[in-house]
Amino acid sequence: MADIKAGHLVAKYLKEVEKIDTVFGISGGHIESMLDGFTEYSIRTIDVRHEQAAAMMAHAYSVYTGRPGVCFLTAGPGFTNGLTGIANAYMDNVPLVVLCGRHPLRDDLKGALQEMNQIDMVKPITKWAATCYDARRIPEYMAIAFRNAATGRPGPVFLELPPDILNITIPMESAPMPAKATRNYAVVPADEELTAAADIINNAKQPLFLGGTGVGFSSCSDCLGAFVEKTGIPFMLLNYGRGELPDTHPLSIWDCGNVGLLVTLGQADVIVAAGLRFNWLFMSGDVIPAAAKVVRIDIDPREIDRNRKADAGLVGDIGSVLGRLLPLVEKKDRGEWVRTLRAASYSFIDSELKARLMASDPIHPIRLVAKIQEVVGEDALYVVDGGDTSYFGQVGLFTKQKAGVIGSASGLLGCLGTGIPFGIAAKLARPDTPVVVLNGDGSFGFNSMEFDTMVRHNIPVVVVVNNDCAWGMIKHSQEMSIGGERLQCAELGTRRYDLMVEGLGGHGEFVTKDEEIVPALRRALASGKPACVNVMTDPTVTSPATPLFYQSLKME
């Protein structure tokens, strides 16, 4: 039997057991043997310009592929740079496998280069974190890492690999590969809870289905479609659940937007919430009327009664639960309820609907979004990153694609800067689908050097900057709280981000007038290059998300 460099074992496991095709990271001396393993086993590496972007890309790659994403970090600053991305995956319940170098075990306590206690730092933001001390156990540790990332409520895991084990050669047979890749095992809800849930749903007059990230990772479009079509329940799919059924489905109420959702929630008598947390965006459950009955479905039993006692709690994978619920629910036509909530919602967003249709000077952000939708269409992947920008993008963009509209900064971490990394991952996962990132100008700044990554790897994503020359949500929030004359750290200047991208080898467009939007977008898409369409928009416009944000932090 041949010998193998232990660093190559990492790549061998990724390729042969988990069928991982792409990994994200930055090179480093501590992990060189692993990098060489990627070459040996033909794993595509996307080498980025900041490790947080690597973690974010791997995070997003798992969203778009349904399999754990993998990133590699070198020791020290490579590790600390990656922490924001890891924390984001933790808050978003996304399976992410982080492979990290560290200082040599041999040099512990000797002042080694980049000597630090990484494990204790990363533990609070991972499901599992460990150091492997034995080269022969690398496949076993990798299997544990993937199992922890993917099973139950998903999340990031962290495996630290010292050079003492990566850089030695061992007999291949001393480190056998597991026979099977990681797989999920079914968790089944209790029969009495299924019956209770079906009774509640069958007796509902004005029900609403809300699906979250658990819906997306369940990949349950068939079951979900059958469920909503049989019960006639209008639905909204949020977070990474969005697109599991098309936004254009007749029972989807995305056309009513977030305002419509809040209006409808106030009138619903039954809420079915699947794979969705009642967090601050739902005012920790307070937006749900006290009289409404709540059916919760979640892979994690701790979520069932969190922030709102459930009237029926179904623990399990969303698709599996809906499949069991389906025979128990009655076929209903709730067309009247759907028409009513839709008409009411439209009355509340009347101005927004009109602003989409009318040219404006300066350009209204929702008008920009409407033009993007007009040019790029429903068969695209959209990523939306920013404050107010996130609101306008998420209510104004519609697709038929799974995970078609992702508010990458709209998770619990509110992690601005995720848009470009997510866009890159989207294009890598689905290269034949157009990918457009709608970025605020503030959030654009965090990872815009990843245009260099896109140019080097030929990843033609179009990034549209909704440029209001400010941290808009913060600015408008400060206007409400401390007054417009005392703005602090809220304003940015007029910047030619398009020229910056051209300097990196991409395509740039600068837009100041309504009639320029469509031609600029068309040229950007046709360029075949990573492109930045820098659009100057109305700095006075704010979104409903801003007062919500402001109110959530008001303490007196």
């Binding site: 209006v263 106030g266 009513t340 008409a343 919602s345 009355s347 509340f348 967003i349 101005s351």
Partner: protein, 119 residues
């Protein structure tokens, strides 16, 4: 006429709440907003001006505002507003008798304040 009277009484109640109701004062905080309630033809209406903890008003439906609650007619506006019912508002909106101009969230904020005062 009844709608105009109702809006005037509402203003007086809110104005008093600004002085004596701690929760309401906290609710309006330092916000600067103009909320207009009016009929679609603009003949009836009242503007509520919130300016850093103060409240003032103007009569009439022709004012500029950050958000406006627009009733199809005065009698519907009176009936639904006097009921204080979210469900009635929802039904009115669904029937095209009520719409919001500007940001719906500001109207929600305004009506949340009314609920604080009325409870």
């Amino acid at each position: 006429m009844k709608l105009s009277l109702l809006l005037f009484i509402l203003y007086r109640k809110l104005k008093r709440a600004v002085r004596v109701n701690r929760d309401y004062r906290s609710h309006i905080g330092m916000v600067r907003l103009k909320i207009l309630i009016k009929t679609a033809n603009g003949k009836r209406g009242r503007l509520f001006i919130f300016d850093r903890g103060t409240l003032s008003t103007r009569t009439g439906g022709g004012h500029q505002s950050d958000a406006a609650l627009v009733w199809s007619d005065a009698s519907t506006g009176f009936r639904v507003m006097a009921s204080g019912s979210d469900e009635e508002s929802f039904r009115a909106a669904a029937e095209g008798k009520l719409r919001v101009e500007g940001m719906a969230y500001y109207i929600q904020w305004f009506t949340d304040g009314i609920k604080l005062v009325m409870k």
